[in-house]
């Protein structure tokens, strides 16, 4: 099994969620993060003084999926989250050793 982690633009979340559902994903976990990258931050002004906001709000999506589903899910996210503007984000995968569903204690693919 693989954990797919995607950093996306916050306002693309609904599209990504829908795409993942369409791709057969039944569960996922998201969190609010801030990103630093090529997109750069921006300068704000307050009472005449400036300050730099280096970190841009992003949403992190985490999904554990079966090996077989990895490519499909990565593609689904890539397409749904793409605006073609800088800062669209990244997706990476890591290998999951074991997975447990807390409610039932099921393990492995059954737990997804």
């Amino acid at each position: 099994m693989q954990l797919i982690t995607a950093i996306i633009k916050p306002h693309m979340l609904d599209d990504v969620k829908d795409a993942l559902r369409a791709a057969g994903v039944q569960g996922l976990t998201i969190s609010e993060v801030k990103g630093f990258g090529r997109q750069g931050g921006h300068t704000e002004t307050y009472r005449g003084a400036e300050y730099k906001i280096d970190f841009v709000p992003k949403v992190k999506v985490e999904v554990v999926v079966d090996e077989g589903a990895v490519d499909g899910v990565v593609t689904a996210i890539t397409e749904a989250a793409r605006t073609e503007k800088i800062g669209d984000g990244k997706i990476w995968t890591t290998t999951v050793g074991s997975l447990v569903r807390i409610r039932t204690g099921e393990r492995g693919a059954d737990a997804v």
């Binding site: 306002h11 801030k34 704000e44 709000p57």
Partner: protein, 447 residues
């Protein structure tokens, strides 16, 4: 007055009597008439202060019922329609409203010209009268910001608010309180404290603004169904409601324009209507939606208040109760209606001030203890009230509509979609309205 100049706040020396103050004059004996006049002026100044306090109430209601990313913008709009409104009303609005002129508009007395207004207004000095009136003008103007919230360019709103306070509202005042044509009908138009003159002017301008702007991004689903966009702070909204309630004790009783013991009854009518509006609005949304919605109940209080504003001087307690109770029901259905037909009014301003303003004005024709249809006094008053409602409504819809179209065609009315999504605070004003320690990740989740 030289003397006063010399003595700071009036104390010439330690432990001497005050000099050159009315206090001193009293040693020579003041007349009861003079004291009554002083009392009238003091009371109206206090009432005006309460009405000005309503600006904070409006700001909080509107801020509370919109999203955190636009909070600085909405506060700023409320501040600037007051500031710009005061200057515009002082420069030209007051002359249009109360200056000598024709039945339609005042044509003299710009810049508070003291020669034009040398006689004062009854026992009220011109400044006292002005401060009360300017507070009303600011109220009319500020109603609109809520309906246009979260998507209007700041610059454009600023222009609108100057024109409304300086021209549109004053003309309506001239027709009525200013002695113009509506006050000269056989059965003159009666709007004691401004259900139509203040509130529905604001409400109709808000309607045109909301229509011409279009709804906020995300307000309607792909199926065209309205989606809720919850406000970011119910406590702000309800504190705003409480402050408005408090301010209304200046708004309605102060409209007596004199320190007359009758103001007690006006206040009682006001509080009963507010309470009734709260209870019926709560009951209505509870029955219709399954839960006692808090924001809607807050709207109910304001609906009750607007509903009794026209009639608070001529309704008895039962009349006030009905005026408020009906307004509380009305506001719920109006909010749902505008939502359904695609008019996106984040705070319910059109329903509260427009719809209930109309209702309150008509209620006078129905329930006025002297002149009301239901008190067996015929339909004369009701017909006049209708004429007033229609005339003021039409005038405001047309002029405010033209104004917004003109702004749209020139400086533009609406911010870009990107700015709307990001929030107006950063892009229009430079910084978010909440510090990074308060604002959770751009409200991304669950939007």
């Amino acid at each position: 007055m030289r003397q006063r100049l010399l003595t700071g706040a009036g104390l010439v020396g330690v432990f001497t009597l005050l000099s050159a103050t009315p206090a001193l004059a009293q040693d020579e004996g003041v007349t009861a008439d003079a004291v009554q006049a002083a009392l009238d002026n003091i009371w109206i100044l206090i009432a005006a202060t309460l009405v000005i306090f309503m600006q904070a109430g409006f700001a909080l209601v509107e801020a509370g019922l919109t999203r955190a990313k636009n909070v600085a913008n909405i506060m700023m709009k409320n501040l600037m329609d007051f500031a710009a409104g005061v200057l515009a009303f002082a420069a030209v609005g007051f002359a249009f409203a109360y200056g000598p002129g024709n039945d339609f508009i005042g044509t003299e007395g710009f810049f508070l010209s003291s020669s034009t207004f040398s006689e004062g207004f009854g026992t009220l000095t011109t400044p006292t009268f002005f401060i009360f009136q300017v507070a009303f003008a600011a109220t009319a103007a500020t109603i609109v910001s809520g309906a246009m919230a979260e998507r209007t360019k700041f610059k454009s709103y600023f222009i609108y608010s100057i024109v409304l306070s300086g021209v549109i509202y004053p003309i309506v005042v001239h027709w009525t309180w200013g002695g113009g044509w509506l006050s000269q009908l056989d059965t003159p138009f009666h709007d004691f404290a401004g259900s139509t003159i203040v509130h529905s002017v604001g409400g109709w301008a808000a309607l045109m603004g909301a229509i011409i702007l279009g709804p906020r991004i995300g307000k309607y689903g792909e199926d065209g169904k309205p989606r809720a966009i919850p406000g970011h702070s119910i406590p702000f909204a309800l504190v705003g409601v409480f402050i408005l309630l408090v301010g209304w004790f200046g708004f309605n009783p102060g409209s007596q324009l004199a320190a007359d013991p009758v103001v007690g009854q006006i206040a009682v009518a006001t509080v009963i209507a507010a309470a009734a509006g709260a209870v019926t609005a709560m009951a209505t949304i509870w029955i219709r939606g399954g839960k006692p919605d808090v924001a809607m109940t807050g709207n109910g209080v304001l609906a009750g208040l607007v509903g009794v504003t026209a009639g608070c001087g001529v309704l008895d307690n039962w009349g006030a109760l009905i005026a408020g109770a009906v307004a509380g029901v009305l506001v719920v259905f109006a909010v749902l209606f505008f939502d359904r037909v695609g008019v996106d009014d984040p705070v319910g301003a059109i329903s509260v001030h427009g719809v209930c303003g109309v209702w309150g004005t008509l209620a006078v024709g129905l329930f006025a203890t002297d002149g009301g249809l239901l008190y067996g006094d015929g339909a004369d008053q009701l017909i006049t009230q209708l004429i007033g409602v229609v005339a003021v409504g039409a005038f405001t819809l047309v002029t405010a509509g033209a104004l917004f179209m003109a702004i749209k065609a020139t400086v533009g009315l609406r911010v870009s979609a990107e700015e709307e999504i990001e929030g107006l605070d950063v892009l229009e004003h430079g910084t978010a309205g909440y510090g990074p320690d308060m604002l959770v990740g751009a409200g991304a989740v669950g939007r």
